[in-house]
Symmetry: C2
Subunit: 146 residues, 2 copies
DNA sequence: AGCATTTAGTGGATTTTGTCAACTAAATTG
DNA sequence: CAATTTAGTTGACAAAATCCACTAAATGCT
């Protein structure tokens, strides 16, 4: 079997396994008070400190009007703030409020616990091996630029 | 850093990387004529040859009423068939029609090409290493029963 | 400069997706 | 054989996501 056929089959098998086994990846089992999209947006802002809506649109590939409404909702809920940019008056910087930061941290903690539950029974050796394997994949697939 | 903290951080990093980099996983960029749910259902029936709706409900964790309607739709589109079971008259076996099989194969071929594009530039060595890493993850995480 | 095009974000209207509860019919429990 | 469970269907809704048209600001072009 050629390398390509083998790797494609393996990735296919992995995807199937991972989405079932780690199915919470894109689930709202996390916390019913935030949708999947909201959660991803919160995580993204957390990572990027401060960013514009179009930044998020580009990264997460979601519709700009959809995002706009989500941001509005989260603003009225006191989770984030829109700050008019001085240099480019079309754009608004989005930042988390104190409450938003706390909430995001809480959500991260929740996912950590879910992940923790998944690996709870693993031995030290398995943990290390798993880490290596995950990093290997990031390294190799990261070479492919898109 | 403890093994657990390390592995949780790594999985978190991996999830982020993989959903962005391999984002097509659960996308309908695949083929606009089938929704994500429809595609998953088609793949599942393909794998299990013949199965009941409740089988699929259990495997894919989707609402039975939701599934029922999707199956109906795909039946009227000539993709699949419901066959009354003799032994248990509550259940209906679902099978793909010839057209359904062709369509499913076509969808699989499409994902294969998407995956292929992702790994196109990899060396033989990288391919093998990647395969090993993916299989390692399946092996280790597969130990954890849920 | 001045006009055309692009970009950021908003809002209306709609479709798609997914959920919940109630129901029928058949199977299972005990 | 009555009570409970299971498989699937349907109605009514709610949530999520998309499409399109629009305003205002920035950028490109000649």
């Amino acid at each position: 079997m050629s390398e390509y056929k083998k790797i494609i089959d393996t990735i296919r098998k992995f995807n199937r396994f991972y989405t079932v086994n780690m199915g919470f990846l894109n689930s709202n089992y996390l916390d019913s008070s935030y949708s999947v999209a909201e959660t991803r947006i919160l995580f993204e802002i957390k990572m990027n400190e401060s960013c514009t809506q179009s930044d998020i649109v580009k990264i997460l590939h979601i519709d700009k009007s959809y995002l706009s409404r989500i941001v509005q909702r989260l603003c009225t809920r006191g989770i984030m703030q829109k700050i008019k940019s001085e240099d480019d008056k079309r754009t608004t910087k989005i930042t988390l409020t104190e409450m938003g930061k706390k909430e995001t941290d809480r959500l991260i903690e929740l996912t950590n616990m879910q992940i923790g539950a998944k690996v709870a029974g693993l031995s030290k050796e398995d943990c290390n091996e798993l880490c290596d394997a995950l990093n290997t994949i990031i390294l190799i697939l990261g070479k492919e630029v898109n």
